[in-house]
């Protein structure tokens, strides 16, 4: 075991896979010599050399195009899109090309590739560098989407993503890069499409993702002290979505609260609520409630950013209120 930051876990996960498989290559802006603007790729150039770890121009379409083409031709590339907000300048490759081409080709080609990005808020970077866009990705058929909430998951899900033969988008919670956790030594390999129950409680289920997971846990502890026992599920993977685990938790508790970082409309919370009310209607003890960032761009000022994101207090008060139903 060793204390590892979330940021270091990214590089460790990539390195683990690059050691194992020579066809794994890595590219992005300022990722090689500089080790990444978030320092998530420190050491990779030194260990794997400039043939496998490559700096690119500011050409996100070229980056993802190269990634997709290389995947089709036998490599297993990992690309960095520095801030997930920048997916907007190369969305065609993601939403129309790498996600759809296998289906259109009825299986002639595959796209074993990974794209990683810093995602979400917490650093006061303003509306264009703080978005949680994991729901953009979830809305596109043909993408797998994971959002690790801690260093161990980061390593294990990175490994699972690299080994998967389909396009996987990994969203790194920027606000958690400095978080540390004890990480076992040796290889860590997780599976895609598995949610994790990280706390058990009979009164309600809180489903949370990425940076919202620790907030949901803290809220659950406060709620517990007030007599509400919550099951907390770390959703981890938006596609595949682990409906089995989520439905089991919800059906046992009869109440669902989601804690989402993305702006309100059409997030994963809406999807989850719709699924559980349609398929688990008989277990509903009261209205499922979504706790989200409002449907707004994120403001830059500290206090306004804090106000916008679901806070521990807001989670606690919303659930306390909701449980009165």
């Amino acid at each position: 075991m060793a204390l590892v930051t979330y940021r270091e876990a990214v590089a460790r996960g990539i390195a683990q896979e690059m050691r194992r498989d020579e066809s794994v290559v890595f590219l992005g802006e300022d990722v090689a010599a500089a080790g990444g603007v978030f320092k998530t790729t420190v050491g990779l150039l030194d260990e794997f050399g400039p043939k496998r770890v490559r700096d690119t121009p500011i050409s996100e379409q070229a980056i993802l195009g190269a990634t997709m083409g290389a995947a089709m031709a036998g490599l297993r590339p990992i690309a960095e899109i520095m801030f997930s907000d920048f997916y907007a300048v190369c969305w065609d490759l993601v939403a129309n090309e790498m996600s759809k081409s296998r289906y259109m080709a009825d299986g002639q080609v595959s796209f074993p590739l990974v794209i990683k990005s810093g995602n979400g808020a917490g650093l006061r970077f303003g509306a264009q560098h703080s978005q949680d866009i994991s729901n953009w990705a979830m809305a596109i058929p043909g993408l797998k989407v994971v959002c690790p909430s801690n260093p161990v998951d980061m390593i294990g899900l990175m490994a699972a993503a690299v080994r998967d033969n389909d396009p996987v988008l990994i969203f790194e919670a920027k606000g958690m890069y400095a978080e540390k956790a004890e990480v076992p030594n040796g290889e860590i390999v997780d599976s895609l499409g598995k949610a994790k129950i990280i706390r058990e409680g009979d009164d309600c289920t809180i489903a949370a993702l990425g940076m919202m997971v620790p907030r949901a846990m803290r809220a659950a502890e406060i709620l517990s002290s007030r007599g509400i026992e919550a099951t907390v599920v770390d959703v981890r993977s938006l596609v595949p979505l682990d409906v089995t685990t989520l439905m089991a938790a919800y059906s046992r508790t009869g109440r669902l609260f989601t804690v989402e970082e993305n702006p309100r409309l059409c997030g994963w919370g809406a999807e989850l609520v719709s699924i559980i009310v349609e398929e688990g209607f008989e277990y509903l003890d009261g209205p499922p409630v979504r706790i989200t960032t409002p449907h707004l761009p994120l403001p830059a000022a500290d206090n306004l950013e804090d106000l916008a994101l679901p806070s521990v207090e807001r989670i606690v008060s919303t659930i306390t209120e909701g449980m009165k139903y």
């Binding site: 050409s59 190269a66 290389a70 009825d106 002639q108 080609v109 979505l241 409906v243």
Partner: protein, 340 residues
């Protein structure tokens, strides 16, 4: 057909054997007759969705393909039927795909704009302008990384030169010194708009080569041997570590942009002038002038008619794709589920 000279400066078309030349003719005729059949089937409402014909431009795919080796990669646009044909894909599955049949190249799931034949290195037809330019770089990168010696050829239209992806692709290919050949098929029009009316330079690809440290290369896209020579040089350069080439091949589509577009927006004199430059009859005359027997060429025409008829039969005989196909092959395990 392999060359050791540097044909970008010294096109080696004189080294084409008569058999090679006859094969160039055959490939152009195949492309032409295939496209005509597509048009007929479109008018019969059998070709679904849309279709973009290559009639008039055949010398480009033919000449370039002849310069490529087996195992090389090809990326094309929605106007890409002919590019698959010349790389060896049989006519039947292409036609069946356009008819939306289960015996189509992609079981009817892709359609006319998304033909792909990975077994022959054709890594796809792309329908959103510019995408294939950046994607082709990736295939070239994989070949470079694995040192396989494969060359990637990426075709695109004049209109595509004004989209951002073109710019990113060119710069990227050059700085990574990728083994790739970009072929701009300048047929003078985007859909209905003349390219010159929306482009800051006269030659949309060649006049921009310098922006990537590349030489401008322009070739008569209706002269199959000229195309071949230029492509052979570029492919050789790519294969031997010389990096990318950007070729602009000047041509014209005889028909409209897609489907039943009659192409009326084009001045009649312009159309007539280009019809006079039709690559097929011109090459036919040239071959006859060089002593090829007219009978041999007639035979090719007849064989091709037969090939097209057979392909049509095959395509028409295909059933509709089974309902189950809707649910397959989104993911690499063959499935399409999004939940566990």
């Amino acid at each position: 057909m392999t060359f050791t000279t540097d044909p970008l400066t010294n096109p080696p078309t004189d080294s084409l054997s008569t058999a090679d030349q006859i094969d160039l003719y055959r490939q152009m005729v195949r492309a032409r007759q295939f496209e005509k059949r597509c048009y007929d089937l479109f008018l019969q409402n059998l070709v679904k969705g849309t279709t973009h014909l290559y009639i008039g431009q055949e010398a480009i795919a033919t000449g370039v393909s002849a310069a490529m080796s087996e195992g090389d990669y090809t990326f094309v646009t929605y106007r890409g039927h002919a590019h698959l044909l010349v790389r060896g894909t049989p006519m039947g599955p292409i036609l069946a795909e356009m008819l939306g049949r289960s015996n189509g190249l992609m079981s009817g799931k892709g359609g006319s704009m998304h033909l792909i034949d990975a077994s022959r290195g054709v890594l796809g037809s792309y329908a959103i302008i510019g995408a294939q330019l950046v994607i082709a770089n990736g295939a070239a990168w994989a070949a470079q990384y694995k040192e396989t010696g494969q060359v990637t050829v990426c075709f695109f239209g004049d209109g595509a030169t004004n989209i951002g992806a073109f710019h990113e692709a060119m710069n990227f290919a050059v700085i990574w010194n990728l083994p790739i050949v970009f072929v701009c098929e300048n047929n003078q029009y985007m859909e209905y708009t003349p390219i010159r009316s929306v482009t800051a330079v006269d030659r949309p690809a060649a006049d921009r080569a310098g922006a990537y440290g590349l030489d401008p290369v322009v070739v008569d896209g209706n002269d199959v041997e000229a195309v071949y020579g230029t492509a052979a040089a570029a492919v050789h350069k790519a294969r031997t570590g010389g990096g990318p080439t950007l070729i602009e091949a000047l041509t014209y589509r005889h028909g409209g942009h897609s489907r039943a577009d009659p192409g009326k927006y084009r001045p009649d004199e312009e159309l007539q002038a280009w019809l006079a430059k039709d690559p097929i009859p011109n090459y036919r005359s040239a071959l006859i002038g060089r002593g090829v027997a007219e009978r041999d060429l007639d035979l090719i025409d007849a064989q091709t008619r037969h090939e097209v008829d057979e392909a049509t039969e095959m395509a028409k005989s295909g059933g509709l794709p089974a309902d189950e196909l809707l649910w397959t092959n989104l993911w690499s395990d063959g499935s399409s589920g999004w939940r566990t």
